[in-house]
Symmetry: C2
Subunit: 392 residues, 2 copies
């Protein structure tokens, strides 16, 4: 099942991805793992030092004689792992004591239903801003529950290629929900909507931990792990104490935010492996990268490199409007389908993976999550320029 004709990056000698360069013909060496440039939209690239640490310890975690997948979630070893993850999250986001950090299974999609179920105030509407497919799904789940859903702004008329600026928050609303970064069309709120005192709730799955966030206006933030945090199979939820008082008594136990809070996310067996890897990613963010401000600077540099190619190009056309475009997911098209297919095929041949756009809209997309290195991005932009030269 070896992929053919793929140029890869050997991972033997240092802990960062090195630049393979799209023109260099690296000899395959079966004794080393060979890594590609991974621009997947999620599950996505993870920091190589983290992957190496997981591998290194996989049969014997910290001298326990067991794999991380084999230890009890009630063991002191796992308690330390999950508590470290909570603590690092609190430090990275500078959370005050009135915020709780929770791990909940089911991804952002389960949050779409848990948010209205737990946090809609009786007789009060819920406000949503619709900026794409994921917002639309969140709205649908509130509607299924019969909530008084008010879509206070939408960019559906423009095919979700921009973020709406004109909206009026209902002062009576239980909350205002928005998607901070829209992976499919490649838009991102660089400045968050103003809730005017109504608690903000945000699906931050695809840009969580990519930049500092002032959490104060937020009643709840949720993020599926599989973009910037770790493996798929868990969502991180940041919830403010006052929101927990809204949780109705009669909900199923597993669907109440209070269950996770009261049991420190250990009511039942949590996804221990995913939480372990998230802990390693958070430590990498804190210690190797140096925190969210530095992460943001790196992410801005990466996105600028790709947007610069697009903005100067006669071949690549950006999908999202400039003022709305995302640091995380750079979406672009080529003039015709044939050229686009050739671009994507040659990209893979040269070791650039995950550049195919979402199946709902096609085109191309480079996802530049935290773990994607500047070296990978520079290799990509060099390839894009070279491809353009050949194609004009």
């Amino acid at each position: 099942m070896k992929a053919k004709g793929v140029q890869r990056t050997p991972t033997t000698d240092n802990s960062q991805r090195t630049t393979s360069g799209f023109k260099e013909g690296l000899e395959r060496d079966s004794t080393v793992e060979e890594r590609v440039h991974n621009f997947n939209a999620g599950p996505a690239a993870l920091p190589l030092p983290v992957l190496k640490e997981v591998k290194e310890n996989f049969l014997d975690l910290h001298g326990s004689g067991m794999s991380i997948t084999e230890i009890s979630h009630r063991s002191s070893l796992f308690e330390e792992i999950i508590n470290d993850a909570f603590d690092m999250t609190r430090r990275l986001l500078q959370l005050s004591d009135d915020y709780h950090v929770l791990f909940i299974q089911g991804g952002a999609s389960l949050q779409f239903c848990m948010v209205p179920m737990n946090l809609c105030l009786p007789g009060r509407p819920v406000d949503y801003i619709n900026t794409g497919i994921w917002s639309t799904r969140a709205i649908k789940e509130a509607q299924i529950q019969g909530k008084d859903v008010r879509i206070i702004a939408t960019s559906e008329d423009g095919g979700f290629t921009y973020l709406p600026t004109d909206y009026t928050v209902d002062r009576q609303a239980s909350y205002v929900h928005f998607t901070s970064n829209n992976t499919i069309m490649g838009t991102q709120w660089r400045q968050f909507p103003d809730g005017e005192g109504v608690p903000l709730i945000s699906d931050m799955s695809s840009d969580f931990m990519s930049r500092p966030v002032d959490v104060k206006p937020f009643g709840l933030i949720y993020a599926g792990a599989q973009k910037n945090l770790g493996p798929a199979g868990v969502a991180m939820v940041i919830i403010r104490e006052d929101m927990l008082r809204r949780v109705p008594d009669n909900l199923p136990t597993m669907l109440k935010y209070t269950t996770a809070r009261d049991n420190r996310s250990l009511f039942n067996t949590p996804p221990t492996f995913a939480i372990y890897v998230i802990g390693l990613v958070l430590r990498w963010l804190e210690e190797t990268i140096g925190g969210l401000k530095e992460m943001e600077r790196i992410n801005e540099e990466k996105a600028s490199l790709v947007y610069e190619v697009i903005d100067k190009s006669e071949v690549y056309q950006g999908v999202a409007e400039r003022r709305s475009r995302s640091m995380m997911n750079v979406t672009f098209r080529l003039p015709d389908d044939e050229l686009e297919q050739r671009f994507l095929a040659e990209a893979i041949e040269n070791g650039f993976h995950g550049l195919k756009g979402h199946r709902a809209i096609g085109g191309c997309r480079a996802s530049l999550y935290n773990a994607v290195t500047i070296e990978s991005v520079k290799s990509l932009t060099a390839f894009m320029r070279e491809f353009e030269e050949r194609s004009i």
Copy 2:
């Protein structure tokens, strides 16, 4: 963070755990992982060849140049992984076409609420047999939803140390729910209750895939993965086609069995790593072990070895009644707390981990899931005998 004084089993030369023997003083060798005898109740031991394969491929899965944690759930590589897992499950359980295999996050605890939500027929009761803490939790979730819950049998009077034989199924019941194996007290239905035509629903978390099961009387079987199947963070659900027709339209999308069925468990991002490991475990079951009949034979042999020591002992006292006791979780006590603590401490010193009973009842428990080898069990029984000799 190295554990001290622990005798371990080196894992260098073959793919099965070897017997360390509690008396042999193995020299620690820092170049090999040293493994303990793992009797954890869940998350629990996984087959060593599976762990080795995960480790081996962790930076580069099948020549993709990516980790299993970094590949898209929409990639052909992952499609193959999940489809193989479905196919192997169907073969191992000999499922006919009217059964569907689903992966759902949230463990058995989310199934406690999904079962009544999806499968209770309007105006009809739901029957439950209460054989322990997990059954009690399942019952509670049906009650929270206001269902007409009828507890047709319970062994609560005997502290759940036996399985009730006397019960009458309500012919009008939507289903009869029972827990096939009770991890905490160590009881197991060797012959399943008779539903008398009413569909059986069973939480098989702790003995799923440990023996052949005739699925025909079952409308639904569910099992958290972290005992016999793989890492924590996913439940496998086997559901019969006619059950799916009961699913109400207005449920939250993520909580409907039809959503998982219609999307082949890929409605949203599934826990890709857990499913990958489950696939490797299923392959090990099928190819290395030789199927569920052979697995059952091995499990019976393992359980017999431990029960033999208990039955002949003046020190170890079995907790569960003989006719109800479990092949998977052997529960026992020692005459006094001081001796019990000494037994548990010396067990750990000799490389036997996870023998402490559930925090709800104390005592000792050896969980003998599929991946626990006969060699580990023989080492344990030798240690138990030797400890007894010294203690009388």
